[in-house]
Subunit: 531 residues, 2 copies
């Protein structure tokens, strides 16, 4: 029954009322029960109707954020032009292939010699299922995707301080961690330690849950048994015929699986951005950049090094140098979407308010290092039964990751031999490309000692702190910089809007760049329409 | 330093010594530290050298076990012939496609109307990474494989008794289960409840582990926070620009995630046979049967209904009826590999020892039911962002499973609308094919209420208890029958060896059938060589 003349409060008003009267927890509860749970902020391509005839936008940077801005703004009727520093589009969406050359800051040049069809994705390399903006435009632009094997129970975990320094299978230590946790919690329950927190009835169910989930035996012990081995693997797995019966394996002790490398790996796979299902483009990550580029190719001016961004009441003027000829150039437009990474933008003369200038300078960039190693054969599959996924280590390389296409093939394949960050990345970036390969081989060999060096053919590395056109991998916000600078950074400054992963809360992901771009152009369009 | 004349004890002797002196746990430990852990009993194709010239083998059944036996025995020099009841090879390795007709026991005939390229795999449908026998022969026989998405954090879990009867995302309840377990165990530790079991130092590490793995806040509480939402998902996930900041979600309470459907699903994914990475053949499961069939096609006599298996000192005589003509026929050979399912074999006159006859009759067969539902569009992807994987329910259908190929396509696709066992399978098998589809639609709609019926086009079902040529899905051993009958069943009986998934400890999997086959022919060859 509704009272007709009473206006129904909006959802937002309702939530605000609940929030005021009952605190945050109640509001969350209400939001959930109202079915507000969401996986993405993407709600389809933006509606930019009513663009002023003849209005123009200059987009700086032909990465994904810039190309999406250009694509949608032109569709809306704007006159658009993109200036790009590099001789290629895509930005950090990038794949290195045989025949490519790459010169990093410091002058080292690598001539990539991977076999045809093989590649290293130095930047983004995987797409979570909830990155719906990216998935939408991949489909719209005809970019074919294939599964990216994220969680593989059969990969390795390695920590020099645990398991005698030997790598152990993820399934073994994940099962053992769960098992020991289940045994300890069962012990607490059986010793009445949780009587104050959990009802007797729920304790009974919890015990059954611990037994099933943890692989405990009938005495709630995590011990060698078919139950525990059915999670962690068998000493001898079941087979056929006379010797078919499985033999249980011996779990690791609690102390051993308390090694941080174990539970950090387990936690990693539960990270929102790391959960399955994930995808990768068929043929290399740069297929996405190329898909976007096809849509806006006639708008891009390559080899344009932006030197100054100025604005006044009449418009925006961008000075740039044509890298080929060295000639100074100028481009003018009514509005500007600037997607230049902050690491580079902070070194350019930009005419924005002091608070925006401070924001641009406030955010440091990560210096991740990736190394690709081409191997003669897929020994991780043939010898170790590992098909995709990651083996983690506490060494500088941080992980090795196995290719997710051409499974079972007899062709050479490229392993990701390092995805380093922090101190490890710092150390690898300080090396020559040759030294990086040598380090990756030395450290990665812990997982596959017999084959790693023997099957190695050629490698390539990208230390993002040395990438000339981005001077870093991606923006590293913290709570403090978010509070002080984020809203300034994403706010319009006169005729200029910033966009890119740095202007998002999904930093270091293509999705953040795209959502930032959509948000920026939506607000820019609103201002342009009102101007 | 070694003493030359002291023979080094064999590995087996060493283990036996350790076992005698220090008990089973120490032996397991030694086995592990000796690096004995194994993933498969497959060690490559069998070595059957030295076959007697002119020796012959009759193989009964052109399923995978039978065809592998025929392939390897012929390669070894035997004269081989296969008798097959059906007009097709592959056995339970089977795909139903548009244009197929299938008549079940009871007489109901289904004319399958799936679109070209779509299929239902009524039997096996996924291949674990450690099923190395199957993977070996898939490669050898040119069967292309693609990833099967087994674990998808974004699928649903549904239990009529929990969450108000609404399906919830797997990631939400898995994260909440872990989180509550971590909170409870942290509480035990902080209340000194584990002082007797865990050292103070390990308790500190365990607390850190619980915080990281469980997504706890700084007070070791599992509460709405960025930490918990980073595992379970957000009320509003992070985005770009002005509204980029994420809003945490409200976890479910402990009582809710104690629903068995939750922890059984979590335990399911840790089952040895269910762990990632998994594969499926490109184009349908029967590509494997066809791959095997190509290798032995000239050996197969189809439409041959075996009625009697006799043996004497001179050889084996198999009586069969040609189904087409009705004519009674006989085939003779020196040896016989019988891969007929026990459910059928137990109804045939077989001349073996009484113990073997008892074994053949001792093992009941499961009656699983699978239902395929072809949908006009991939609404689970488009509306719900689910790409492959399974949504579980406590209803009869047990689960629905999403297709693992043609992701993002605009073509109709076939969902697995049920994979029922136990009582649910019994009830579904008692229905007409039309009623099964109706039930699958009614129950599956709980996951996708808006689209499920609306997008439905056509369906197909297989109730294995009604499959004329197998009279069940696969052998259901228990501890008692294993103890009493298994070794008899897999032992040679005169000139006859049984093989198939029923003669293995990897029951209901193709790998069990293949390993059983290799074991059977290896022993048969040994006897034949000695004879």
């Amino acid at each position: 029954m509704t009272i007709p003349d009473q206006p129904k409060p909006s959802r937002r008003q309702l939530l605000s009322l609940i929030g005021k009267s009952a605190g945050v927890a109640a509001m969350y509860q209400a939001m959930t029960s109202l079915g507000h749970a969401a996986e993405t902020q993407f709600s389809g391509p933006p509606n930019l109707s009513g663009a002023k005839k003849g209005a123009s936008v200059l987009v700086l940077g032909a990465g994904l954020a810039g190309m999406l801005a250009a694509f949608e703004l032109r569709k809306a009727g704007y006159s658009v032009r993109i200036l790009e520093y590099q001789p290629r589009a895509g930005g950090r969406n990038w794949s290195l292939r045989g025949g490519d050359s790459y010169t990093e800051l410091g002058g080292a040049t690598q001539h990539i010699r991977f076999q045809k069809g093989n590649y290293l994705n130095p930047g983004p390399w995987r797409i979570p299922h909830h990155h719906q903006t990216l998935l939408h435009y991949c489909k719209a632009f005809g970019v074919a995707l294939e599964p990216f094997i994220q969680l593989n129970h059969n990969t390795y975990v390695h920590s020099p301080g645990a398991f005698g320094g030997r790598p152990v299978r993820y399934k073994e230590v994940a099962a053992d961690f769960d098992g020991h946790v289940a045994e300890l919690l069962s012990k607490s329950i059986n010793q009445k330690g949780l009587d104050a927190s959990v009802s007797r009835e729920d304790q009974e169910i919890l015990l059954e849950a611990m037994r099933s989930w943890g692989g405990l035996d009938e005495n709630f012990q995590y011990a060698p048994s078919l139950a525990s081995s059915n999670h962690r693997g068998f000493e001898r797995p079941g087979g056929g015929g006379v010797e078919g019966a499985p033999i249980p394996s011996q779990p690791f002790g609690l102390k051993e699986v308390l090694d941080p490398q174990v539970w950090r790996s387990m936690s990693f796979f539960m990270n929102y951005e790391m959960q399955t299902t994930m995808f990768q483009p068929v043929g290399g990550m740069d297929m996405i950049g190329k898909g976007f580029q096809k849509q806006v190719k006639e708008l891009i001016t390559y080899n344009a090094k932006v030197t100054r961004i100025a604005q006044d009441a009449g418009g925006v003027t961008v000075s740039y140098q044509d890298i080929g000829s060295g000639a100074a150039q100028e481009a003018k437009a009514d509005w500007c979407v600037c997607t230049i990474p902050l690491s580079v933008l902070s070194q350019i003369d930009v005419q924005v308010a002091p608070a925006m200038q401070a924001a641009i300078k406030a955010v440091p960039y990560g210096g991740q290092v990736k190394i690709g190693l081409e191997m003669r054969r897929r020994f991780w599959e043939e010898d170790d039964h590992i098909y995709g996924g990651h083996s983690f280590t506490a060494q500088d390389i941080s992980l090795i990751s196995y290719p997710n296409f051409d499974f079972f093939s007899d062709r050479p394949a490229v392993l990701l031999g390092a995805f380093a960050n922090g101190l490890g990345a710092y150390r690898l970036a300080g090396m020559t490309p040759e030294q990086r390969i040598e380090t990756a081989l030395a450290q990665g060999a812990v997982f596959h000692p017999a084959a790693y060096r023997k099957e190695f053919m050629t490698g390539a590395s990208v230390a993002w702190s040395r990438v000339p056109w981005s001077l870093g991998c991606c923006a590293r916000w913290n709570e403090d910089t978010r509070r002080k600078h984020y809203q300034t950074l994403v706010g319009l400054d006169g005729r200029i809007a910033l966009a890119g992963e740095h202007a998002s809360y999904i930093g270091c992901w293509m999705e953040g760049a795209l959502l930032s771009s959509l948000d920026a152009i939506t607000r820019l369009h609103k201002r342009a329409s009102e101007a």
